[in-house]
């Protein structure tokens, strides 16, 4: 289930290379879980229910219809506009570890047959932080949705703005908000999914601007960090502060959806908001390990237009 989405690797090591059949230890409850069982359960611990983090590729592969994904702008990579000490090294390391050029993957795909523009942030890539590239990719995928009158679905998982790009990162809050704002004006639906963790500048921009906001159980969601808040108020915060469930009670998000139900809920919402039906999924549009096909044209026209 987690494996159909294969993309050109920028580094050599992939988390996908773990040999099947190993036992892994749940970092939450400590239970030993057979690796394949964990994968089959979409990385939700069968013992404690904890939703372990997914990489952006994994996220898309468990969400999108098989072989429906057409990636955009896979080759966009961060530079070092501030000449910030150590940034280039951190980027190289993150690229090697994740196999991605930066912390977001965007494109167009199908969810239970509904065509949608889609993006996913990758917490494994420098904490999913939003620098110029993440901002640019989110903006481009929103513009693509606008152009093709598609819905937009974004999975956030981010520590916030990327400080190594200074004020340029901060401005990505405005840039992405402007792009998402155009979808609102065009009456196109935008569904925001907050995964563990979604904090800082990403919450203060597109993640909180969805028509419907969904979170995964237990996900950490908040603007300021727990440590900063505890220093400010000089008190310990309760355990469930800034969890998805806490945000739900405080009226900040629409629903908390367990991972196995998420695809179904998204499809239901896409149908409700008039997403176009995809034509029958292309049989293996992209070769499993070949070059990416970032061509801007769509493989098949929508049967129905978004309202």
């Amino acid at each position: 289930m987690l494996n159909w989405l294969r993309r050109p690797k920028h580094g050599r090591i992939s988390r996908r290379d773990i040999p099947a059949g190993l036992w892994v230890k749940c970092s939450r409850c400590g239970a030993a879980v057979y690796h394949r069982d964990l994968e089959r359960a979409l990385k939700v611990c069968p013992k404690c229910g904890w939703h372990h983090r997914l990489g952006a590729e994994e996220r898309l592969s468990i969400t999108l219809d098989e072989h429906s994904f057409e990636e955009m702008d896979a080759n966009l990579a961060s530079g070092d506009p501030l000449r910030f000490d150590g940034y280039r090294e951190k980027l190289s390391e993150a690229r090697a570890n994740t196999g991605n050029a930066d912390a977001a993957i965007v494109g167009v795909g199908g969810i239970e047959g509904y065509r949608t523009a889609v993006g996913a942030l990758d917490f494994a890539f420098m904490g999913g932080s939003m620098g110029s590239v993440v901002g640019e990719k989110i903006t481009r995928v929103a513009e693509r949705a606008l152009q093709d009158r598609l819905p937009l679905v974004i999975f956030s998982a981010s520590g916030g703005a990327r400080m190594q790009e200074g004020a340029l990162s901060l401005m990505q809050l405005a840039k992405t908000s402007a792009a998402v704002g155009r979808l609102h004006e065009a009456h196109l639906p935008y569904l925001s999914v907050m995964c563990d963790p979604t904090t800082g500048g990403v919450t203060a921009s597109f993640a909180f601007q969805g028509d419907v906001i969904i979170a995964e159980p237990g996900a950490l969601i908040g603007f300021a960090g727990r440590r900063v808040i505890e220093q400010t108020i000089r008190r310990k915060l309760p355990e469930r502060f800034q969890t998805a469930e806490f945000c739900l009670e405080h009226g900040l998000i629409d629903m908390v959806v367990p991972r196995p139900e998420l695809r179904g809920v998204l499809a239901r919402l896409l149908r409700f908001f008039g997403a176009p039906r995809a034509v029958a999924p292309e049989p293996a549009a992209a070769a499993p390990d070949g070059e990416a096909q970032p061509a801007p044209g769509e493989p098949g026209g929508p049967e129905v237009a978004c309202p």
Partner: protein, 331 residues
């Protein structure tokens, strides 16, 4: 797309650190003299005068070098004119509005109506105090969500009547407290940023002190974003950056330099449109001159923006933010 900045002037930073050490020495000498001054009066007074003059000289040359940390210090200077002072001076017949119509009136955010050079306008500004008592009252210029929601309400009023918005920005951050989180600090900031990208009236922003991350941007998305010479604009406070990078908030000076937060650097990144020169030595030495400089800088922009058709205004605003960012294409 934004251009990358040149290497930092590390020599200047080193010089500044050295000068500051000398200045601290002079200050210690002055303090020592003062402690003795009851015994040995006329002589000590003269010595102190000389030392103070030397200190002042040193301070001025430090200003002329202006490393990032000095910019931070000036931007945070307690005598620096406050955002609300700018608003009240720039707008005639200022009338303050209160409340978000939802939960609370946040004293950390000022919103109101007035006339800028004969043009009705709506202004928003975070409030810092001039002393501890005032600072406690206005939460050290750190708004709660209700502060941002009050500002948005005022901006929507401006939109209804077709009046420009003037935002004066000087805030260390959105308040990082538990109650602020519970009431949707992120949501409030995200909403303001989103609405400001498409507010159908001209929005003019001046960063006059600390442009503190999302808490500043929540009132700083505009058609013209100006910045006072010694103001700073940053994605994270230097102390926080240092704590994350080196687990040592004390290395804030290095972080400030790395973050490229001075007006000159921010302008070079294309994040602000214009730097407004301050009175010699900094705005805190002459508030009136600083306010006059801001007024002069705003006047032609207010006129030009007010003459643009709304659709053109919005097209340009979008294009402006659309272009900010730096990336490379990997093969």
């Amino acid at each position: 797309m934004t251009r990358a900045l040149p290497e930092r002037d590390r020599a200047a930073e080193a010089r500044a650190a050295e000068m500051e050490a000398r200045l601290a020495g002079i200050q210690r000498e002055i303090d020592a003299l003062r402690r003795r001054s009851e015994k040995d009066k006329p002589d000590a007074v003269e010595q102190i005068r000389v030392l103070e003059a030397r200190g002042e000289e040193l301070r001025e040359s430090m200003l002329s070098i202006r490393t990032a940390w000095q910019a931070v210090a000036l931007a945070r200077h307690p005598q620096r004119p406050k955002a609300q002072e700018f608003v009240r001076a720039l707008l005639d017949e200022f009338t303050e509005l209160h409340g978000d119509r939802l939960f609370r009136d946040d004293p950390a955010m000022l919103a109101g109506l007035g006339w800028f050079e004969g043009q009705p306008a709506v202004a928003v500004a975070p409030c810092k105090g001039r002393d501890t008592r005032e600072n406690i009252a206005c939460n050290f210029g750190m708004p709660y969500p209700e502060g941002y929601r009050k500002a948005l309400r005022a901006m929507r009023l401006a939109e209804k009547f077709g009046y420009p918005v003037l935002s004066i920005v000087d805030t260390p951050a959105a308040f990082p407290g538990d109650a602020a989180e519970e009431r949707g600090q992120a949501e409030a900031i995200a909403r303001n940023i989103g609405e400001m990208t498409r507010l159908r009236v001209p929005v003019l922003v001046v960063i006059t002190g600390e442009g503190g991350s999302g808490g500043a941007l929540a009132i700083a998305v505009g058609d013209a974003v100006l910045m006072l010479e010694h103001a700073v604009y940053t994605v994270i406070p230097p102390e926080g950056c240092a704590a994350i990078l080196w687990h040592d908030a004390g290395r804030a000076r290095e972080a400030a330099s790395a973050l490229r937060l001075t007006a000159q650097e921010i302008a070079a990144l294309g994040v602000v449109d214009e730097i407004i020169p301050e009175p010699s030595g900094g705005a805190h030495l002459d508030s009136q001159a600083a306010i006059a400089a801001v007024r002069e800088a705003l006047r032609p922009r207010m006129t030009a923006l007010s003459n643009l058709p709304v659709e053109e205004l919005l097209r340009r605003r979008y294009a402006k933010y659309r272009a900010i960012g730096y990336h490379e294409e990997q093969s």
